[in-house]
């Protein structure tokens, strides 16, 4: 079969090996970690900024949108094809361009895998602070687009706090540079605006990040509870003592049992909830904070508090946590990860509400989340072959989001809006708010050529989750 004209143009813009266009090759690119949508017309893997520019010009000529894609681990459908378009994959732009330790900076291409960046500087005592649980696979470009968080962003801030500059290709093929290697470049903070814009304002082709010093000492604690409410109350109590742990994660008993079955990380399977707490910093500070935290946990009826005694034990506990979605995936045909935020003092109330939702819709919901930030990830288990379950999953998820908003929170803390929640945006934003967001979009992406159908409501269906998990993982 001869390649169609679009493909010939894309090959001319890049190279023959850089373009996928046969139906069977495109299958994978219907998906990200949320769901499957449509097949792209082609997938192209540029190796340089110049190739990205040429690709976007080809796309414009053919009147086709462009959908940037990192590793496809996104949980809001950001890298899927909402209408038609060309997927631009960054797996071949995966070079660390510069490591500059004295300036605590690195410059990377967008396809660099998050963990590879930290690994490249760890011998010198540095790391890249944002650590999404998917960090073995997800890319720095994806992190920038989603403004990703992770367990350790509680103390150190999310991606936007660690990105100083971007090289961006605009839909008209212009290449611009925002921010700088130094902070506080005069002018509007376009870097801050682009981080979290989910590929709808520009294609990021290079990223300047801040590298952080690895801490001198780390303590990892597991506090075990017989009542969920004791665990959730501990969270705000730790903060009230003036301590910001590096990480403060919670898993409920249901999740723990799944995690143990999958990872054998050493979590107790007979408890109602655990907190996984990490403190980092100077040896002296870590010791003192550990003691205080242990005392707070005991005051809140923790049954037992364990400390990881070795790097291996610590790694195992984190492996259990970071693989938890997958572990839950083993016990039901499908699962749907939600992402909402509430003020952390409202955690006890929110978990009670989640239990009510579980009952109301007759679904199992696992609770695993970044408790210190008030960033919840209820995992709804279901079987996609049963239409009634699918429908209940959607309603349950929406109820949870509405509750987050009622509590003064948000419909997404780190997974993004994507195609999943764009119709829920009116829960948070008025027409006036949305109008100003649209004007920003029109400045960068006037013809809607970049990642259309994402972030902003399309107005076709109002107030519903537009796409929910259907694939399971």
């Amino acid at each position: 079969m001869n390649p169609p004209p679009l493909v010939r143009d894309l090959i001319r813009a890049t190279s023959r090996q850089a373009v996928l266009w046969r139906k069977e090759d495109l299958l994978l690119y219907e998906y990200d970690a949320l769901s499957a949508l449509r097949q792209p017309e082609a997938v192209v893997f540029p190796t340089s900024t110049q190739e990205v520019v040429r690709v976007i010009r080809v796309a414009a000529r053919h009147g086709l949108p462009v959908i940037p894609r990192g590793a496809g681990t996104g949980l809001s459908g950001g890298a899927t094809v909402a209408q038609r378009g060309i997927v631009v994959g960054f797996s071949r732009m995966n070079k660390i361009v510069e490591i500059d330790l004295e300036n605590q900076r690195a410059r990377v291409q967008p396809g660099v895998v998050n963990l590879d960046l930290s690994a490249a500087v760890s011998d010198a005592g540095y790391y890249f602070a944002p650590d999404p649980s998917s960090q073995k696979a997800c890319t720095v470009g994806g992190n920038v687009a989603e403004n990703s968080g992770g367990p350790h962003t509680l103390a150190y801030g999310v991606t936007t706090n660690h990105v100083l500059g971007l090289e961006v290709v605009l839909p008209d093929g212009n290449v611009v540079h925002t921010g700088a290697k130094f902070w506080d470049r005069p002018g509007y903070d376009l870097t801050g605006l682009l981080v979290g814009s989910e590929g709808t304002l520009g294609i990021v082709t290079e990223i300047t990040v801040r590298l952080s010093r690895l801490p001198e000492a780390v303590n990892t604690l597991v506090a075990i509870y017989d009542r969920v409410s004791d665990a959730t109350q501990t969270v705000a109590a730790i903060t009230a003592r003036g301590i910001t742990p590096a990480a403060l994660e919670m898993m409920d008993g249901f999740t723990l049992r799944a995690v143990e079955a999958a990872t054998h990380a050493g979590y107790p399977t007979d408890s109602a909830a655990v907190l996984l707490i990490e403190v980092e910093g100077l040896r002296e500070a870590v010791e003192e904070q550990t003691e205080t935290i242990e005392a707070v946990c005991r005051e809140h009826s923790a049954r037992e508090i364990r400390r990881a005694h070795s790097a291996e034990e610590r790694a195992l506990l984190w492996k259990g946590r970071k693989n938890a979605f997958g572990a839950l995936g083993r016990i039901a045909p499908n699962y749907y990860v939600q992402d909402g935020v509430i003020p952390r003092t409202r955690l006890p109330e929110m978990l009670e509400y989640t239990a009510e939702v579980e009952k109301k819709y007759e679904l199992r919901i696992g609770n695993i989340f970044h408790a210190g930030d008030g960033n919840l990830h209820p995992l709804i288990m279901f079987d996609a072959r049963d239409p009634s379950q699918c429908e209940r999953v959607g309603r349950a998820a929406k109820d949870l989001m509405v509750k987050c908003v009622e509590m003064g929170g948000s419909i997404t803390g780190e997974h993004g809006v994507g195609v999943e929640k764009n119709e829920l945006m009116p829960l948070l934003f008025s027409d006036d708010d949305l109008a100003m967001l649209r004007r920003i979009k029109e400045v960068f992406n006037p013809l809607g050529l970049l990642n259309p159908g994402k972030v902003l409501p399309t107005g076709k269906i109002c107030g519903e989750l537009r796409v929910q998990a259907s694939v399971g993982a």
Binding site: N103, V176, R185, G196, L282, E284, G409, V417, D433, M436
Partner: protein, 449 residues
């Protein structure tokens, strides 16, 4: 123009009440920006009033500059036009304060000192120390992304804002972000407003992240024998796991300025490094010991101080940029933003470029910022060419230089921001999309936007 001011005057008076508006020439002169006085000053007390003022002004083709305590108002190119001064001094409310969530929502006119006082009751603080110190308003601090020495430990205003409400020139009040510490719903418009110097919209409410107050603090002073040695010390100290709230490098004139009028006043002839650490007694003991071990080799002793003494020096540090001009009108203050590694070299180059003028510099090498005050120059021409040379020097190190304060006559030929980059076209379009009539502070920001 005069007639449109007159008719807008009536409309504004009807909107905010005639007791919330003044055309008294003395009042207007006091609201002047770069020597240009507005025809009116309005004092809204609600977000809705701010939005209405902007709408009325935009419709009448008038220009508006928002301000509060004027601590940062000197920064910027001279306004092209300036009809209405928008004083935020009546907007001081705290809307939500949740100590256990470490969040607070405030109106823009609230002074930093008042917020710190409130938060301290719960052992919390907002770790910002912008020029103007406690007098700086929160709106002004955010609008100018103003940082001080605490930037070393806590970052800039950009890192403490969770969300905000913004009054637009169409008279709308829009919201971005929220009151929770993590939120990625929609574009982060707060980032755009922070550091926009009042040229896109007026911040009418800000949700901020608070931090626990350090239990105890200690200040350490190192007197380096040269800038070269200061560089070595900075490298070694930043490579340790020690954590500092503030980290300042000052040249001899900067050191004299810092110490002046405090119990720590001594004659300084060498560059000094001033650091502040926070934490428990054990943490501070450890910090001191590690510093001593590290400095022994270099033959430098570690002096320590604390309490009111240290506080007075740190206050002088955050007020530096503002206070040097008050003390000696005509002083030029520049901000160089540099890669971390270039700070000492820039200081030494700048010292030479300043030639015979007095040159006092306070740098935060940990983040790559140097503030310098230049006074005693021969004439404006001399000052102008000194600034150009300093800017060239900052560029040669891969940085940029902004003139924060200088005599107005220097501003026109210089452009205080320097040349914009290849992203300027986007900035221009954003300005046009949000403020199509150029109602807000026209001409003041980068590229005279």
């Amino acid at each position: 123009m005069a007639s449109s001011v007159q008719s807008a005057h009536m409309e504004l008076a009807a909107w905010v009440g005639s007791d919330h508006l003044s055309d008294d020439p003395a009042v207007c002169r006091a609201a002047a920006v770069d020597g240009k006085a507005p025809a009116l000053v309005v004092y809204p007390s609600t977000a809705e009033e701010v939005a209405g003022i902007l709408r009325i002004a935009a419709t009448a083709g008038l220009t508006v500059i928002p301000f509060r305590n004027r601590t940062q108002l000197d920064i910027g190119n001279p306004p092209e036009r300036y009809d209405v001064g928008l004083s935020l001094k009546e907007m001081n409310n705290v809307w939500h304060y949740e100590p256990s969530d470490l969040t607070i929502s405030v109106e823009p006119g609230m002074k930093l000192g008042d917020l710190q006082y409130l938060a301290a009751q719960d052992h919390l603080w907002l770790p910002l120390d912008p020029p103007g110190g406690v007098k700086a308003s929160l709106g002004g601090t955010l609008a100018t992304n103003a940082t001080g020495p605490l930037g070393h430990g806590y970052g800039s205003p950009r890192d403490v804002v969770l969300g905000m409400k913004i009054a637009t020139t169409e008279g709308k009040i829009i919201k971005t972000g929220g009151r929770v510490v993590k939120n990625v719903a929609g574009y982060d418009l707060a980032k755009l407003l922070i550091g926009s110097y009042g040229t896109l919209g007026v911040i009418v409410e800000a949700n901020l992240k608070l931090y626990p107050l350090p239990r105890q603090r200690a200040t350490y002073v190192l007197r380096a024998k040269s800038l070269g040695m200061a560089r070595e010390l900075r490298r070694c100290i930043l490579a340790t796991p020690l954590h500092f709230l503030r980290f300042l490098l000052v040249n001899p004139a900067g050191a004299r300025w810092l110490r002046q009028g405090t119990p720590l006043a001594v004659e300084s002839t060498k560059p000094e490094i001033w650091m502040e650490a926070g934490g428990s007694e054990r943490v501070l003991e450890r910090t001191q010991k590690s510093l001593e071990d590290l400095c022994r080799e270099a033959g430098v002793s570690v002096e320590t101080c604390g309490g009111a003494e240290a506080e007075s020096v740190w206050n002088r540090a955050s007020e530096f940029r503002h206070a040097v001009v008050e003390a000696q009108p005509g002083t030029v203050v520049v901000r160089a933003s540099l890669p971390i590694a270039a700070c000492e070299e820039f200081l030494s180059a700048a010292q030479q470029e300043a030639e015979s003028a007095e040159f006092a510099a306070l740098g935060s090498p940990g983040v790559g910022t140097v503030h310098a005050a230049i006074s005693g120059y021969r004439d404006l021409g001399d000052a102008g060419s000194t600034i150009r040379r300093l800017r060239q020097s900052a560029r040669s190190f891969g940085g940029a230089l902004v003139v924060e304060r200088c005599p107005v006559a220097l501003k026109a030929p210089l452009d205080v921001w320097g040349d914009p980059g290849d992203d300027f076209d986007l900035m221009r379009k954003i300005k046009a999309a949000w403020d199509p009539q150029r109602t807000l502070a026209p001409g003041r920001m980068i590229g005279r936007i």
